[in-house]
Subunit: 134 residues, 2 copies
C-alpha cells in the first residue's frame, strides 16, 4: 500500500499554478458523471470537514458551497485521486437529483451526433421555476 506523509494527504496533491485542481463529481450509486468544477485547498478542506462538496467558482472568484442556492448539495461518499494526483474524483449523493443549473441531472447532457451537439439528458427541474425569472 502506498502511503503519503501522515496527516497531510492534501500536500501530495498537485494544484495548478492558479492553486486549483479539477474535481469530477460522479453519482456514487449510478456511476453517472454529473459535473466538473475546480477546487482550491480551502474548498477541499471544507469538503472533507463538512461532507458536502465545496468548489472554487472561477467566474465569481469565491468559495462555492454547491447547492447553497438551489438546495441541491452533494453529499460526499468517497474522494479519490489519480496516478498523477492532479485530478479529484468525488463520489456523491446528489440531493434534489439534478447537478446542473440548467435543470438536467448531469451537466454532460449534450452528445455529439454527426455535426452537432444534441441535447440528450434527463430534465429534473425547469430553471425558471427553481431560480425565478430574471
Amino acid at each position: 500500500m502506498t502511503r503519503d506523509t501522515p496527516n497531510d494527504p492534501l500536500k501530495s496533491l498537485k494544484f495548478g499554478a492558479d492553486g486549483l485542481i479539477p474535481a469530477i463529481a460522479q453519482n456514487a450509486a449510478s456511476g453517472e458523471v454529473l459535473m466538473v468544477a475546480w477546487m482550491n485547498a480551502e474548498a477541499l478542506a471544507r469538503t472533507i470537514e463538512t461532507g458536502e462538496a465545496h468548489y472554487w467558482s472561477r467566474s465569481r472568484k469565491k468559495l462555492w458551497h454547491k447547492g447553497e442556492e438551489s438546495g441541491n448539495v452533494q453529499k460526499i461518499k468517497e474522494i479519490r485521486t489519480d496516478c498523477d494526483k492532479d485530478v479529484l474524483l468525488l463520489k456523491v449523493e446528489q440531493i434534489g437529483g439534478a447537478a446542473c443549473h440548467t435543470g438536467f441531472r448531469s451537466c454532460f447532457s449534450w452528445v455529439l451526433r454527426k455535426d452537432e451537439w444534441a441535447e440528450d439528458g434527463v430534465k429534473v427541474f425547469e430553471p425558471e421555476e427553481k431560480y425565478g425569472r430574471k
Copy 2:
C-alpha cells in the same frame, strides 16, 4: 433541441488559453471513470476521425494516440460535453482492460482514508512486465 452551427460543433467548444480542453474517459459499459487527459483541436478531430482517443500530452508536448505503446487503445462509443462546453466526456471501450500506465484498470485508484491516500484499484498488469524494466 439545442443546435449549434451546422457542420462545426467543435467551434462551440471552449478550449482554454493554452488551446486545451480536459477530457474524461469513462468505461461505457461499467461507468467507471478511467482517466482525465487533455485535448487540443487536432486531438479531438483525430479522435472523431479514427474512433480512438487521441490526447495532447502536456509533458511530452505532442499528440498522443492513447495506447500507441501499450496497445491499450480506447474505442470511442460516445462523445459528450457539459453545459459550459468546456469539458469533454468520452464513453469508451478500454482495450486491454487497463487505462492507467501503473497497470490499474482506472487511474483513480487512490482513495482518501482518514489521513492518507490509500491504494484501492484493480491491477490488470504489472508495468515492469508490460513496458520492460528501465
